[in-house]
Amino acid sequence: MHELSLSSAILETALRHAGGKKVGAVELTVGALRQVVPASLTFYFEIVSRGTVCEGARLELHTVDARVRCNGCDDEWTLDDPIFRCSSCEASDVEVITGNEFLVESIDVEEEACTAPR
Protein backbone atom coordinates (compact mmCIF):
# COMPACT_ATOMS: atom_id res chain seq x y z
CA MET A 1 0.00 0.00 0.00
CA HIS A 2 2.90 2.31 0.73
CA GLU A 3 3.99 2.12 -2.92
CA LEU A 4 0.49 3.03 -4.10
CA SER A 5 0.56 6.32 -2.17
CA LEU A 6 4.08 7.04 -3.34
CA SER A 7 3.38 6.23 -6.98
CA SER A 8 0.49 8.73 -6.91
CA ALA A 9 2.88 11.39 -5.55
CA ILE A 10 5.39 10.58 -8.32
CA LEU A 11 2.64 10.81 -10.92
CA GLU A 12 1.47 14.22 -9.67
CA THR A 13 5.03 15.54 -9.76
CA ALA A 14 5.66 14.19 -13.27
CA LEU A 15 2.37 15.58 -14.61
CA ARG A 16 3.15 19.01 -13.20
CA HIS A 17 6.40 19.13 -15.16
CA ALA A 18 5.16 17.43 -18.34
CA GLY A 19 3.21 20.44 -19.63
CA GLY A 20 0.65 18.15 -21.23
CA LYS A 21 3.26 16.32 -23.30
CA LYS A 22 3.48 12.54 -23.47
CA VAL A 23 5.96 11.20 -20.91
CA GLY A 24 8.19 8.30 -21.95
CA ALA A 25 10.18 7.82 -18.75
CA VAL A 26 10.39 9.06 -15.17
CA GLU A 27 13.76 8.97 -13.45
CA LEU A 28 13.72 8.54 -9.68
CA THR A 29 16.21 8.43 -6.84
CA VAL A 30 15.01 6.49 -3.81
CA GLY A 31 16.92 6.08 -0.57
CA ALA A 32 16.98 2.76 1.26
CA LEU A 33 15.37 4.30 4.35
CA ARG A 34 12.16 4.96 2.40
CA GLN A 35 11.43 1.22 2.44
CA VAL A 36 10.24 1.21 -1.15
CA VAL A 37 9.88 -2.05 -3.08
CA PRO A 38 10.84 -1.14 -6.67
CA ALA A 39 8.71 -3.82 -8.37
CA SER A 40 5.70 -2.75 -6.34
CA LEU A 41 6.26 0.92 -7.19
CA THR A 42 6.46 0.08 -10.92
CA PHE A 43 3.29 -2.01 -10.66
CA TYR A 44 1.26 0.75 -8.98
CA PHE A 45 2.66 3.50 -11.19
CA GLU A 46 1.43 1.61 -14.23
CA ILE A 47 -2.08 1.57 -12.70
CA VAL A 48 -2.31 5.15 -11.41
CA SER A 49 -0.87 6.62 -14.62
CA ARG A 50 -3.55 5.11 -16.85
CA GLY A 51 -5.46 7.72 -18.79
CA THR A 52 -2.78 10.39 -18.20
CA VAL A 53 0.15 11.55 -20.33
CA CYS A 54 2.32 9.28 -18.17
CA GLU A 55 0.51 6.12 -19.25
CA GLY A 56 3.08 3.55 -20.34
CA ALA A 57 6.00 5.65 -19.04
CA ARG A 58 8.98 3.67 -17.76
CA LEU A 59 10.11 4.20 -14.17
CA GLU A 60 13.90 4.39 -13.99
CA LEU A 61 14.68 3.85 -10.35
CA HIS A 62 18.09 4.54 -8.82
CA THR A 63 18.47 3.33 -5.27
CA VAL A 64 20.77 4.96 -2.72
CA ASP A 65 22.25 3.11 0.25
CA ALA A 66 21.52 4.32 3.77
CA ARG A 67 24.84 5.82 4.88
CA VAL A 68 25.16 7.10 8.43
CA ARG A 69 27.87 8.82 10.46
CA CYS A 70 28.48 8.63 14.19
CA ASN A 71 28.89 12.11 15.63
CA GLY A 72 30.74 10.57 18.57
CA CYS A 73 33.65 8.88 16.76
CA ASP A 74 33.12 10.00 13.13
CA ASP A 75 32.81 6.38 12.02
CA GLU A 76 30.78 6.04 8.83
CA TRP A 77 28.97 2.95 7.58
CA THR A 78 26.13 1.57 5.45
CA LEU A 79 23.04 0.49 7.35
CA ASP A 80 21.81 -3.04 6.72
CA ASP A 81 19.28 -2.95 9.54
CA PRO A 82 17.55 0.14 10.95
CA ILE A 83 19.81 0.29 14.01
CA PHE A 84 20.86 3.89 14.59
CA ARG A 85 23.53 3.12 17.14
CA CYS A 86 27.27 3.20 16.49
CA SER A 87 28.76 -0.28 16.47
CA SER A 88 32.22 1.15 17.26
CA CYS A 89 31.54 3.45 20.22
CA GLU A 90 27.89 2.60 21.10
CA ALA A 91 26.88 6.28 20.78
CA SER A 92 23.37 6.92 19.54
CA ASP A 93 24.06 10.35 18.05
CA VAL A 94 24.00 8.98 14.54
CA GLU A 95 23.40 11.20 11.53
CA VAL A 96 21.88 10.07 8.24
CA ILE A 97 24.06 11.12 5.29
CA THR A 98 22.11 9.42 2.50
CA GLY A 99 19.10 7.13 2.33
CA ASN A 100 16.16 9.50 2.85
CA GLU A 101 15.92 10.52 -0.83
CA PHE A 102 12.65 10.32 -2.68
CA LEU A 103 13.33 12.49 -5.72
CA VAL A 104 11.88 12.76 -9.17
CA GLU A 105 15.12 13.62 -11.01
CA SER A 106 13.83 14.06 -14.54
CA ILE A 107 11.18 13.08 -17.05
CA ASP A 108 11.54 12.26 -20.75
CA VAL A 109 8.84 14.03 -22.75
CA GLU A 110 7.93 13.53 -26.37
CA GLU A 111 7.99 16.66 -28.45
CA GLU A 112 4.67 16.17 -30.18
CA ALA A 113 1.77 17.58 -28.15
CA CYS A 114 -0.39 14.83 -26.74
CA THR A 115 -4.17 14.87 -26.56
CA ALA A 116 -4.55 12.32 -23.76
CA PRO A 117 -6.44 13.76 -20.79
CA ARG A 118 -4.39 14.78 -17.77
Binding site: T13, A14, R85
Partner: protein, 227 residues
Protein backbone atom coordinates in the same frame (compact mmCIF):
# COMPACT_ATOMS: atom_id res chain seq x y z
CA UNK B 1 9.08 11.30 -32.31
CA UNK B 2 11.79 13.24 -30.50
CA UNK B 3 12.35 12.89 -26.77
CA UNK B 4 13.64 15.60 -24.47
CA UNK B 5 14.82 15.17 -20.91
CA UNK B 6 13.18 17.66 -18.53
CA UNK B 7 15.05 18.17 -15.28
CA UNK B 8 12.71 18.01 -12.28
CA UNK B 9 14.92 17.42 -9.19
CA UNK B 10 11.97 17.63 -6.84
CA UNK B 11 10.99 15.59 -3.82
CA UNK B 12 7.90 13.67 -4.91
CA UNK B 13 6.21 14.64 -1.64
CA UNK B 14 6.87 18.39 -2.10
CA UNK B 15 3.27 19.04 -3.16
CA UNK B 16 2.06 17.46 0.08
CA UNK B 17 4.63 19.38 2.12
CA UNK B 18 3.49 22.69 0.60
CA UNK B 19 -0.13 22.01 1.58
CA UNK B 20 1.00 20.84 5.04
CA UNK B 21 2.75 24.21 5.47
CA UNK B 22 -0.46 26.02 4.49
CA UNK B 23 -2.36 23.97 7.09
CA UNK B 24 0.29 24.79 9.67
CA UNK B 25 -0.01 28.50 8.87
CA UNK B 26 -3.78 28.31 9.42
CA UNK B 27 -3.28 26.49 12.73
CA UNK B 28 -0.69 29.05 13.82
CA UNK B 29 -3.00 31.94 12.91
CA UNK B 30 -5.64 30.49 15.23
CA UNK B 31 -3.02 29.59 17.88
CA UNK B 32 -3.91 25.91 17.64
CA UNK B 33 -1.31 23.24 18.32
CA UNK B 34 -1.67 20.00 16.38
CA UNK B 35 -0.74 16.43 17.26
CA UNK B 36 -0.77 13.72 14.59
CA UNK B 37 -1.63 10.45 16.37
CA UNK B 38 -0.75 7.29 14.48
CA UNK B 39 -0.63 3.52 15.02
CA UNK B 40 -1.42 0.14 13.51
CA UNK B 41 -5.13 -0.74 13.33
CA UNK B 42 -6.39 -1.83 16.75
CA UNK B 43 -3.47 -0.47 18.80
CA UNK B 44 -5.92 1.57 20.85
CA UNK B 45 -5.80 5.18 19.62
CA UNK B 46 -9.52 5.79 20.09
CA UNK B 47 -9.64 3.96 23.43
CA UNK B 48 -6.72 6.09 24.56
CA UNK B 49 -8.51 9.28 23.54
CA UNK B 50 -11.62 8.08 25.40
CA UNK B 51 -9.47 7.56 28.49
CA UNK B 52 -7.99 11.04 28.06
CA UNK B 53 -11.35 12.77 27.64
CA UNK B 54 -12.97 10.88 30.53
CA UNK B 55 -10.93 13.08 32.88
CA UNK B 56 -10.43 15.89 30.39
CA UNK B 57 -7.42 18.09 29.76
CA UNK B 58 -8.18 20.84 32.25
CA UNK B 59 -8.39 24.26 30.68
CA UNK B 60 -6.99 23.06 27.37
CA UNK B 61 -9.73 23.17 24.77
CA UNK B 62 -9.30 20.18 22.51
CA UNK B 63 -10.76 19.05 19.19
CA UNK B 64 -10.35 15.82 17.26
CA UNK B 65 -10.07 15.20 13.54
CA UNK B 66 -10.90 11.54 12.89
CA UNK B 67 -9.42 9.86 9.85
CA UNK B 68 -10.94 6.57 8.76
CA UNK B 69 -11.24 4.72 5.49
CA UNK B 70 -14.95 4.39 6.08
CA UNK B 71 -17.67 5.16 8.62
CA UNK B 72 -17.82 7.26 11.76
CA UNK B 73 -17.52 4.57 14.47
CA UNK B 74 -14.55 6.26 16.16
CA UNK B 75 -16.06 9.75 15.93
CA UNK B 76 -19.30 8.39 17.45
CA UNK B 77 -17.32 6.95 20.38
CA UNK B 78 -15.78 10.34 21.12
CA UNK B 79 -18.89 12.44 20.44
CA UNK B 80 -20.39 12.23 23.92
CA UNK B 81 -17.29 13.70 25.58
CA UNK B 82 -18.38 17.19 24.49
CA UNK B 83 -15.29 17.51 22.35
CA UNK B 84 -15.71 18.81 18.79
CA UNK B 85 -15.03 15.83 16.52
CA UNK B 86 -14.73 16.14 12.74
CA UNK B 87 -14.77 13.03 10.59
CA UNK B 88 -12.73 12.58 7.40
CA UNK B 89 -13.38 9.49 5.31
CA UNK B 90 -10.70 8.57 2.81
CA UNK B 91 -12.77 6.16 0.72
CA UNK B 92 -13.15 8.64 -2.15
CA UNK B 93 -9.80 7.52 -3.55
CA UNK B 94 -8.58 4.38 -5.25
CA UNK B 95 -10.02 1.72 -2.94
CA UNK B 96 -9.83 4.11 0.04
CA UNK B 97 -6.65 5.86 1.06
CA UNK B 98 -4.82 4.18 3.91
CA UNK B 99 -3.55 7.45 5.43
CA UNK B 100 -4.40 11.11 5.78
CA UNK B 101 -2.45 13.51 3.61
CA UNK B 102 -2.19 17.28 3.90
CA UNK B 103 -4.88 17.89 1.28
CA UNK B 104 -7.44 15.65 2.99
CA UNK B 105 -6.87 17.54 6.24
CA UNK B 106 -7.07 20.86 4.38
CA UNK B 107 -10.41 19.92 2.84
CA UNK B 108 -11.82 19.24 6.33
CA UNK B 109 -10.47 22.39 8.01
CA UNK B 110 -13.64 24.37 7.28
CA UNK B 111 -15.53 22.06 9.62
CA UNK B 112 -13.02 22.22 12.47
CA UNK B 113 -13.82 25.04 14.94
CA UNK B 114 -10.20 26.25 15.13
CA UNK B 115 -11.21 29.45 16.92
CA UNK B 116 -12.71 27.42 19.78
CA UNK B 117 -9.81 25.05 20.48
CA UNK B 118 -6.17 25.16 21.62
CA UNK B 119 -5.18 21.64 20.62
CA UNK B 120 -6.26 19.55 17.64
CA UNK B 121 -5.59 15.82 17.80
CA UNK B 122 -5.59 14.26 14.35
CA UNK B 123 -6.31 10.55 14.71
CA UNK B 124 -4.78 9.14 11.55
CA UNK B 125 -5.92 6.02 9.69
CA UNK B 126 -4.62 2.88 11.41
CA UNK B 127 -1.50 1.97 9.44
CA UNK B 128 2.20 1.82 10.35
CA UNK B 129 3.47 2.65 6.88
CA UNK B 130 1.91 5.42 4.77
CA UNK B 131 0.97 7.89 7.54
CA UNK B 132 4.69 8.16 8.34
CA UNK B 133 5.34 9.62 4.87
CA UNK B 134 2.71 12.37 4.77
CA UNK B 135 2.97 15.47 6.91
CA UNK B 136 -0.40 17.11 7.54
CA UNK B 137 0.72 20.37 9.21
CA UNK B 138 1.22 18.98 12.70
CA UNK B 139 3.48 20.32 15.46
CA UNK B 140 4.22 16.88 16.86
CA UNK B 141 3.78 13.26 15.89
CA UNK B 142 2.94 10.57 18.41
CA UNK B 143 2.32 6.88 17.89
CA UNK B 144 0.66 4.13 19.86
CA UNK B 145 2.17 0.67 19.76
CA UNK B 146 0.50 -2.06 21.78
CA UNK B 147 2.07 -5.07 23.44
CA UNK B 148 -0.06 -7.42 21.34
CA UNK B 149 1.91 -6.39 18.25
CA UNK B 150 5.32 -7.94 18.82
CA UNK B 151 8.63 -6.52 20.06
CA UNK B 152 10.13 -6.38 16.57
CA UNK B 153 7.77 -3.75 15.17
CA UNK B 154 10.25 -0.84 15.45
CA UNK B 155 12.67 -2.81 13.27
CA UNK B 156 9.95 -3.63 10.75
CA UNK B 157 8.46 -0.14 10.53
CA UNK B 158 11.45 2.12 11.25
CA UNK B 159 10.04 4.99 9.18
CA UNK B 160 7.07 5.30 11.55
CA UNK B 161 9.08 4.86 14.74
CA UNK B 162 11.69 7.40 13.57
CA UNK B 163 9.21 10.07 12.59
CA UNK B 164 7.52 10.29 16.02
CA UNK B 165 8.42 12.42 19.03
CA UNK B 166 6.53 10.10 21.36
CA UNK B 167 5.93 6.35 21.41
CA UNK B 168 3.04 5.26 23.64
CA UNK B 169 3.18 1.58 24.60
CA UNK B 170 -0.43 0.54 25.22
CA UNK B 171 -2.27 -2.49 26.66
CA UNK B 172 0.29 -3.13 29.43
CA UNK B 173 -2.57 -4.64 31.50
CA UNK B 174 -2.27 -7.65 29.17
CA UNK B 175 1.42 -8.27 29.91
CA UNK B 176 0.79 -11.02 32.50
CA UNK B 177 -1.03 -13.02 29.81
CA UNK B 178 1.53 -12.62 27.05
CA UNK B 179 5.01 -13.90 26.27
CA UNK B 180 6.09 -10.35 25.68
CA UNK B 181 9.56 -8.99 26.26
CA UNK B 182 8.99 -5.33 27.12
CA UNK B 183 12.73 -4.65 27.54
CA UNK B 184 13.31 -5.91 24.02
CA UNK B 185 10.66 -3.54 22.66
CA UNK B 186 12.24 -0.57 24.46
CA UNK B 187 15.68 -1.65 23.21
CA UNK B 188 14.36 -1.80 19.63
CA UNK B 189 12.64 1.60 19.93
CA UNK B 190 15.93 3.06 21.20
CA UNK B 191 17.88 1.43 18.36
CA UNK B 192 15.62 2.87 15.67
CA UNK B 193 15.00 6.30 17.22
CA UNK B 194 17.60 6.94 19.94
CA UNK B 195 16.38 9.20 22.72
CA UNK B 196 12.72 9.22 21.66
CA UNK B 197 10.32 9.71 24.56
CA UNK B 198 8.21 6.68 25.38
CA UNK B 199 5.60 5.86 28.01
CA UNK B 200 3.83 2.70 29.17
CA UNK B 201 0.10 2.73 29.79
CA UNK B 202 -3.18 0.90 29.60
CA UNK B 203 -5.98 2.89 28.00
CA UNK B 204 -8.34 0.18 29.27
CA UNK B 205 -7.51 0.38 32.98
CA UNK B 206 -6.31 3.98 32.93
CA UNK B 207 -2.88 3.08 34.32
CA UNK B 208 -0.29 5.56 33.06
CA UNK B 209 -2.80 7.60 31.03
CA UNK B 210 -1.96 10.60 33.22
CA UNK B 211 1.46 10.72 31.56
CA UNK B 212 -0.08 10.97 28.11
CA UNK B 213 -2.52 13.59 29.33
CA UNK B 214 0.42 15.64 30.64
CA UNK B 215 2.22 15.22 27.31
CA UNK B 216 -0.86 16.49 25.44
CA UNK B 217 -1.12 19.49 27.76
CA UNK B 218 2.54 20.28 27.04
CA UNK B 219 1.89 19.76 23.32
CA UNK B 220 -1.06 22.16 23.50
CA UNK B 221 0.98 24.80 25.28
CA UNK B 222 2.44 27.14 22.68
CA UNK B 223 5.39 27.92 24.93
CA UNK B 224 6.33 24.44 26.12
CA UNK B 225 5.52 22.08 23.23
CA UNK B 226 7.50 18.84 23.33
CA UNK B 227 8.45 18.88 19.64
Amino acid sequence: MHRTKVRVAEDALDANTTIAQANRADFDRESVRVVNLMSAPGAGKTTLLEAVFREGLGALRTGVLEGDVQGSLDADRLAHFHVPVTQINTDGGFGGECHLDANMVRSALGEVPLDEIDLLIIENVGNLVCPAEFRVGEDAKAMVCSVTEGEDKPLKYPLMFRTCELVVVNKIDLLPHLDYDLDKLIYNIEAVNPGVEHMLLSARTGEGVEGFRDWLVRAGDREGAPA
